[in-house]
Symmetry: C2
Subunit: 278 residues, 2 copies
């Protein structure tokens, strides 16, 4: 590659997609780790949620999102959705000629680094749990650590609806955490990028049910570290000179809540989301 | 039309679709009202829910479902989804050359017939409430009856997940019903075909908050009556001779729960759902 082409590639944006709002938790971590990068984020709000759907359907949707981001000229794709990261990355790598990074391996690494009891629990969507992706990723990092999976499907609509405080999310979190009590778990992985929006209630219930020292980890920061190392190792990272990077938001449908939650969530006005046809 | 063509048309199945499981509440009522009819039911489980999505997206999905049913040779289409009935029927009638019936007008009629205080409340999805379809339908039937709308978005995932008993659905129902207290409402319309799955908790909370005499009505039976009159008036109804009609289930994705809930819900084994590509 010529030096000029390499410079153009470095300047290209990062593509990030999720089924809806949840992936913004990853965007926030990417903004902190890689402030110079431009990010194009696509929330597939026309087909949210992914976590209750089958692997073929989720893979088809993920491919549609990724192809749209490729048309926007991204240099790499971050799948900011656990369900899609669990079932779709191999297919995306085969079909698209660019790097594809997911959130499962970083989440597994964060869990393995945090556990002292060698027993971690993963709260995730039905699709992620059914895929077995977390136990596989944890086993690839450590043969000593055991992984318990627990599907927590209602947490996605609660997060999407902004219903993140009070009795209903607390009781829902409790119901999903109860089967994990008295099993020696000391780490709970938020295995869905929507769940950090409910972190306070999940953490509160986890301390009551699993013990006061339980640690709740999410994959957002670990994913941002992965993406950062990856870009630097391959000479694809922007040099932090001049203006900070921009975030451009795309959605496949325009639910009224998206812009409002996105601004609040990213901690900075991101401008109204652009509607795209997938 | 020749007598032979008319006989063939009468023998054709009825097409019914919904975003997921909810429309089965309408199928059950249709089975009771029209036992001789064959029914082809399509649950768009790859794109559920519709109620949080915008009118253009829902109309596109509804058109996809309806066109698939037309290819299956149905004689008429029942939109067994309030959100799609609120935004899509005109477009479907323009694009498809066959009768299209929805659930909003029958639901409005049931409410107007039941109210004594001339004040009815409608619990529905955000999309249905935003469309204003219920207040319009009620106003077309009676200028005296006032309609209060209340979006209850979390009830759809609760119904789809089968979480229909206990504290979480009860508290969710209470939160949605609380703004309707002390307003003189004596009828609550279940303005989403998923909500009858949660009827017990909704009815219980409605009696506490709105008064012991409040009536909860759903549009399933009224829709079945509408469809029945429509078919008979146009000579399209099957004569009830010989074997009872069959129900054939189609889904656009295969969530693990569909077959199980469908059998339980229809009260008779319906056979495994067939996966279709929309």
């Amino acid at each position: 590659m010529s030096e000029r082409d390499a410079a153009l590639l470095r300047r290209a944006p990062l593509g990030v997609f999720d089924s809806g709002l949840g992936g913004l938790t990853v965007v926030r971590a990417l903004r902190e780790a890689l402030p110079a990068e431009d990010i194009v984020y696509l929330g597939d709000t026309a087909r949210v949620p992914y976590g209750t759907k089958g692997p073929d359907t989720v893979t088809r949707y993920a491919l549609g999102c990724a192809k749209h981001l490729v048309r926007r000229g991204v240099k790499a794709i971050v799948i900011a959705c656990n369900t899609a990261s669990a079932v779709a990355p191999d297919r995306l790598r085969v079909e698209l000629d660019l790097p594809v990074l997911g959130v499962i391996d970083p989440g597994a690494r964060a869990a393995v680094e945090a556990t002292r009891s060698f027993k971690v629990a993963v709260l995730a969507t039905s699709g992620t749990i059914a895929s077995g992706a977390y136990p596989r990723a944890v086993a690839a990092l450590s043969t000593r650590v055991e992984t318990l999976g627990q599907a927590a499907p209602l947490l996605v609509p609660l997060a999407e609806e902004g219903w993140t405080e009070g009795e209903v999310p607390r009781l829902a979190a409790r119901r999903y955490l109860e089967p994990l009590a008295h099993r020696g778990v000391d780490v709970v992985v938020l295995g869905c990028t929507h769940y950090p929006l409910l972190r306070d209630v999940i953490e509160g219930e986890a301390r009551v049910l699993l013990g006061p020292d339980v640690r709740v980890v999410d994959s957002a920061r670990a994913t941002a570290e992965d993406v950062s190392s990856f870009l630097r190792d391959r000479g694809l990272a922007r040099t932090p000179e001049g203006a900070p990077g921009q975030t451009h938001l795309l959605v496949s449908d325009l639910p009224r809540t998206f812009d409002e939650v996105a601004s609040r969530f990213l901690g900075a006005p991101a401008g109204p989301a652009e509607l795209v046809d997938l």
